[in-house]
């Protein structure tokens, strides 16, 4: 069994495997953000062990259902290479103002032809990683180590993010490509981009991880208090 596990962790990651890893990362990161930012009460979360860390997962049925629907669709879009970005926008219930945007850019690593999510020009470095560098085959274990570091960063981000003193809600936005437009699934509509006022925004880039198929770049932007 242990040998089989070792073999599995030493193998290169396929598109399907990468999609699964990314979807799973979304699930745990969204849950972690909702817990850390106190969007849902702490009692609604139970602890599980993932990525070698104690992670919190919601027990709220309606939230679980919503996340399940989203992640299922995200999985499909990842498989068809349609999704470019996923954003968790935390809004005020009172004023409906966007207070935080947790942005996850998805870059398909084996496809250089499509435009990148970032505004950084080609050939330059993104988070210290050269884009045109030859890739090293990664194992699942290495990817999990990278994800663990991002999770730690998400947890630690509470230290610099402003406290959310009002009641908040959230929504998940998916940014899909218009170059190959597919019909939107049922109950999916065009969304308000939930912009934060440019003069009041600050942003912090988080770590990134790569599965050699997908590369995930995380960033949090928040409204600074006046």
């Amino acid at each position: 069994m242990a040998q089989a596990q070792a073999t599995r962790t030493n193998q290169a990651i396929s598109l399907k495997g990468s999609t699964k890893i990314v979807t799973e990362f979304f699930e745990y990161s969204v849950n972690s953000i909702l817990y850390q930012r106190n969007v849902y009460p702490a009692d609604d979360f139970r602890m599980v062990k993932k990525y070698g860390l104690p992670m919190l997962i919601t027990s709220d049925e309606s939230l679980k259902e919503y996340l399940g629907t989203i992640l299922k669709q995200v999985h499909e879009w990842l498989m068809t290479d349609t999704i470019n970005r996923l954003v968790l926008a935390i809004t005020s219930k009172e004023t409906l103002e966007t207070l935080e945007r947790w942005q996850f850019d998805i870059i398909r690593e084996d496809d250089d032809s499509r435009p990148t999510s970032s505004t950084v020009p080609e050939g330059t470095t993104i988070n210290g990683i050269q884009k045109d560098k030859p890739k090293k085959e990664k194992t699942e274990k290495e990817v999990q180590t990278e994800i663990r570091e991002i999770m730690k960063q998400i947890t630690a981000s509470v230290t610099f993010l402003p406290t959310l003193e009002e009641e908040c809600s959230f929504t998940l936005l998916a940014y899909t490509s218009t170059s190959d437009p597919l019909p939107l699934p049922e109950k999916w509509n065009d969304a308000d981009p939930h912009l934060i006022d440019k003069g009041k925004v600050e942003q912090v880039r988080l770590r990134s991880f790569s599965t050699n198929v997908h590369k995930m770049e995380a960033m949090v932007a928040y409204k600074i208090s006046e």
Partner: protein, 698 residues
Amino acid sequence: MSDFGSPSPGKRKIDEGYSPDSPLHPTHRSLIRAHLENTSLGTDIVSLRARISQLEANLTAKTAENARLGKEHSEISRAWLDVVQGEDSVRKEVEEEKAKLKRSEREWMGKLKTAEEGRYAVQARLEAVERERERERGEAKNREELVRQQLQRSERDLKRANEVQAQVRALEDQLESKERELEDVRSLLSSSNGSTSSSSDHLRGELKRQSTLLATLEKTNVQLSRECQELRLRRDNVESLEQEVKSFAKRAKAAEDRAQIAMEQLDHSRRELDSLTMTVPPTSDDNTTLSISEALSLRHKYTTLSASHSQCSSQIAHLNAQNAELAHRLGEVSRESLTRIGELEERLTGAERECRWEHGRREAVERKLLVARKELEQLRTAGSHSSHGMNTNDSQSGSGDPSVRVKELEEQLEEYRGIIDAFQQEEAEMKDRIAADQGWVKKCDYEQAQAEIRSLQAELAEAKETSTAQTSHISTLERHLADYELRVGSGEYNTRIWRAVEFSGNPAAKDYAIRKETLEKLRGENGALLAQIRELEGKVAVAGNAAAVSGGHAGTVPRETYDRLKEEYEEKERGHAKRLQRLKEIFGMKSKEFLEAVFSLLGWRIKFDENGTDVRLQSMYAPKGKNGLTLKFSSQGGHFGTMQMMGAMAKGLGDVRVYWVEQRQSIPGFLAQVTLEMFEKTTFGRAAGYVPYDEAEE
């Protein structure tokens, strides 16, 4: 400063690797190799000589045998004549045959003689070649000796050059220190205008030191110029050596040509010999067995001779090859000597340059010394004047001092001007010298350095401009980047290529809908309240104040408010229930974990009855069911209770119960011993290799 006397980097590495006395030095190695080759050649020559003597002995023996055979032949022929005496015709034939045989014998003898002559000629050539080789060996030895001497000389030169360099450095240091001292003296002199006798003594001492320094500098200069002359002489020697090497090379080539000619002659004689052997005439008659045997023996002789000839020719070829190798070595030695000559020439040029440099420095120092002396003289005279004035009359000195001082200062100024002119002249001369390639540096190097400086300055200016432009461009780009990042952070995106979508049943939308609904309800409630107020006001207006008061509080709360409060209450209740359920789940999970931990660590599975008073314990090592052991503890509160032992294994635990529970009143001790006994008795213990005490006794 030029790299005086320093060997080229590659050479220095070799010299540092192997000392000239070391057997691993390239020259020593080549000498050893030449010695070895000479020794092998000597042994070859000795063996060849032995072989030649052997061949000569063989030839002598063969000649003797030939003579013996001739004698036997004459005897046999005589006997034959006796036998056939009576028959004239036969005799005549025999006579004719005899004459024929004699003729053929004579012919063969002549051929043998020519072959012998050929052998002698070959031997003479071999000797000549040997002599030539001996001579070449002598020449090689001489050359080797020459090269060795040259090497030693160059080593000595190198050492001397190093010494000169060290001396030059020491002198430079001395000069610097002296200059510093001179500066100090000057400052002292300037500070103490009315100089004292002690300062003049100090100055005198300083002057003495300067003069000694000058003397040492002159000595060094003389020594350097001598060394320079020596080096020139050595250069001439090296040139003569080079010419000698060239003449040796020419002679070696001539020897090679001669050897080639000898080889050709040898081949020619060999071919002749071969033709002789091939054109041996057949014997006159089959009947004459004697002539056949003679012919065979002669042929055999020719064959051996030709074999020895071929051997000799191979030896000559070998010697030729050695000769060629020696010539090759000679070429190598000449090349090496040429490179050494080049190095020596470079060193000579450097030494000359150093000499010029030292000369220039000496002149500068001399000039400075002269100036210092003059200054000293002036200071002395000024000092004597001042002291005289102070001794004689203050008023006189006071009136006479300024004009004298001004004059002195003017003189000094003139001198300084003269010195500056001299310096300028010197500079101009130096430029001329540099132009004539006689300066401290080579003219071409100077010009090249100047051109490089100009080009580097131009490049620097260009690079500075580019750097400024790039810096401004980078700052602009950074500003743009920060702006773009802010835009991205605020959530802007390219709507032409991307599309933002969301699930309609998202929590924010749900919350918004709930909020909207609540607001609507509140609005409705508010409207109902307002309507009720209006109604009440109408009633008051109709029935009067009393009726209004008696109407009381009944029906003052609208239905909407009641419904809202009820909904809120229910919502809260649902929240509490959810939380309670969650806590229950967590408690169940935790208590299960706790019991599992107890079971793993202590070996007892604990079960609590629903009423909470009874606790049942089952051992990990006891079998399950009736054959096992179950302990039931009941308590009605406090530390007192009952213990009941159930199962087949409880029968043998009476003593343990009495010992631990009744006598010592310790349930944990009882449980520990029971655990041990269960382990011993059951298959667990046996599987672990435990043998019970009673079984072991049996």
